[in-house]
């Protein structure tokens, strides 16, 4: 029975399955990186510099003779957790911020949301770049910079949910029955917003990883010798006649982001009531 369920899903939404499989593979790779990487991520081998892909180094070696495959695998341990942390913090902070704004209403709401508007009037990578540059390059600073860019969209969504629920009849009746309004809101809103939050978070995860690697590429992320994908792509730019140095880390970014996007898309389709209706 179970098998046929997966089969059905695969037939109806093959992309979601591809996404899940990709993400699971990457997660496993990240967890058991030391076991599957044939070389250490920092092991230099100068005579083997710029070696093209071969049986010994299946993705070739970089400018210090380090094994690109091993570094790509280890890279999953930086980018994926970084993306997850960004999304978790943004969701929590943005959600709380939006809930407070929506609950307080009036001037507080107005003032709080204008701040969110200001943040949202920058293209994400521009603002993240400026903040990361000002703070100096490090993983934590990059994560922080992306969180600053990211939280307003969660705040907006949460505020919308709170506003629409606040006036709902069952809330006012519960309040009339003597329950605290905040408590009621919490009780009704939390279950209501889990689904949309999940969709948003899974779609954004791919994006967050993209921006994170973008900062790495610009030299505003992780310090070498850390194996971060964006940094690895950047290291190949100076010499992309040796295409493998940039190519494989880029593929890693692409597949991870794609995996999360496929899953996010499938979530959205599932939860979007309009689309569930068959034509």
């Amino acid at each position: 029975m179970k098998q046929s369920g997966i089969y059905k899903l695969a037939k109806k939404n093959p992309l979601a399955v591809i996404g899940i499989v990709t993400c699971v593979i990457w997660l496993i790779a990240a967890i058991i990186a030391p076991l599957i990487a044939p070389y250490g991520p920092f092991t230099q081998d100068l005579p083997m510099r710029y070696d093209s892909p071969s049986t010994e180094h299946i993705m070739g070696t970089d400018h210090l003779g380090r094994d690109v495959f091993s570094r790509v695998i280890w890279g999953a341990r930086i980018s994926i957790p970084a993306g997850v942390i960004v999304i978790v913090i943004s969701t929590l902070f943005g959600g709380l911020y939006g809930a407070i704004a929506g609950y307080m209403g009036k001037l507080t709401d107005e003032a709080m949301m204008r701040v969110a508007d200001v943040v949202m009037s920058f293209p994400p990578i521009i603002l993240a770049m400026a903040i990361a540059a000002a703070l100096g390059p490090s993983i934590m600073n990059a994560v922080f910079a992306i969180v600053i860019v990211w939280w307003p969209r969660y705040a907006r969504m949460m505020r919308g949910l709170v506003l629409s629920t606040k006036e709902a009849e069952y809330v006012s009746s519960a309040v009339a029955l003597g329950e605290k309004k905040a408590y009621v809101l919490l009780k009704t809103i939390v279950p209501n917003c889990v689904a949309p939050l999940l969709v948003m978070a899974s779609v954004d995860l791919g994006n967050a990883i993209l921006i994170f690697s973008g900062l790495g590429f610009l030299g505003l992320g992780v310090a070498p010798p850390a194996a971060e994908w964006g940094v690895m792509v950047a290291q190949g730019v100076a010499i992309f006649q040796y295409w493998w140095i940039s190519f494989f880390p880029g593929v890693a970014i692409l597949t991870v982001a794609m995996g999360f996007n496929f899953i996010g898309d499938a979530f959205r389709d599932m939860l979007d009531p309009r689309l569930r209706r068959q034509i």
Binding site: F42, Q44, L46, R49, Y50, H63, L64, A133, G136, P137, S138, G219, A223, P224, P225, A234, V237, A238, I239, F240, Q241, Y242
Partner: protein, 538 residues
Amino acid sequence: MKKYFALLVAISFIFILAVGCGDPEDIDTEAPDQEAETEEVEDKQVVMGINPEYNTFDPAHAYEKSATMIMKVLYDNLVTFEGEDTVTPRPMVAESWEISEDNKTYTFDLQEGIEFTTGNTLTAEDVKWSFERARDLKGNPSFLAENIKEIETPDDYQVVITLHEVDPSFLSKLTQSVFGILDSQVVQEQGGTQDDETDDAKSWLDNHSAGSGSYILDKFVPNDELILVKNDDHWATQPEIDRVVFRHVSEPSTQMMMLQKGDIDFAFDLDSEQIEMLKGDENVEILNSNTFSIFWFHMNMDPEIGGPVSEPKVQQAIRYALDYDGLTDLAGNDAFTPYSIMPVGFLGALDPEDGIEQDVEKAKQLLEEAGYPDGFEIETGVIPGMAPDGVSFMTMAEKIQADLAQVNITMNISQEEVSIYLEKYRSGEHQTNVSMWGPDFPDALNQLAFLPGQTVGLRANWTEEMNPELAELGHQARTEVDDEARKELLEEIQRQVLETGPYAVFVQPVRALAHSNDLTHVLYTPAFQLDILTLDRQ
């Protein structure tokens, strides 16, 4: 469905058409403008691919390394170096000169009848005005003129310069772009003054030249392109190339591709690996040039900041721990490790063969003697993404990191953007860092900055009190006019610095450039880089 398909095809078609329009052959055959076409055939044009740091061509401000070769053809100086020589200044605008007994007063007789590209005549007054402006605007290169006390012009073609202090390298300095002679009348018309507060001419001078040089600045769009056009009426030299275009191409790999495709004639910023790849290309010629730059590992002498690395034994251990062969390999193009702070090519530079070699056992032993058998942790400031003279700071740092790990020293790289790095470096706040020094003017005296109490020494908090004898040797060398005596002093200084200095000098790069093989008479010198005046093409 068919209709969508047709639409898709139609749009793809439009798209392909758009791309097709730009087909390179199209451009060549169709480029219609007849006048432009015929003109281009007669004119000799050279296109350079460069990732330059220049941003101004005002002699009082331009100080960037890549500006040197351009300033040299835009402005004439009193004296100049010829070819690869950087020791004997030769007459240029000054026909001849005399130096007073006390070595403080220089009297120059100027060539008569030199015209600026603006048509005005170059006189002693222009020299005086230009030099005073260079000194008083307080731009980056102004310190080169700081020593000038007074300039007199007894007549239109004589200039008398009096210095505050004796300076054996003064004539060397006069060859530098800061002493380019401006048409004072035109610059003043453009708002030029001799005061930083009121001077308005800089932005004009960034886009125009007001000199008497062999080329005229035709167009400068920062980070895009720079165009030089030949000055047909130059009083002395007539170069072969009519038009020189410098295109901004930031990535070495793009420069290499463009060179191979013939889109540029000259690639300035290739790294050693690309040079290797280009060696098989018969349309490309490789050119190696010495540099006067040195790279070293910088250690702080202040125990509070440096910790273990402030101890002489530890410093010596680190010098023994480095794999110099590996580092020079990574620097590529026959780079080598100089003896110490004096780059090969300068007066008194000692033979690199006699320098230090890697000896991991000795390094470990020294560390044990210093009380660190189990090593320690250090932080090293590094600028990412910069590779002056083709040597990447980060690559060097990553290699040093691996070398130091062998003697149990854990090195953490702190990635710092240029400005942050420089601030920490200049104020001596780095525990250690990977540094580079290119001399301001081609003279051995530059390197005295590494001594205790001097510019670079102080960046390691190496004060004069810490080593007064060495500091004194430096003072003597600075004012010694006799070359032989100076040489001996410089040699002794190098020996002592290698023993006691907070530096592990590891690379003096050899810069490699590549150009298409129809360029001829390509001369590249460490002091002035590419000599545009001799360049020709078949």
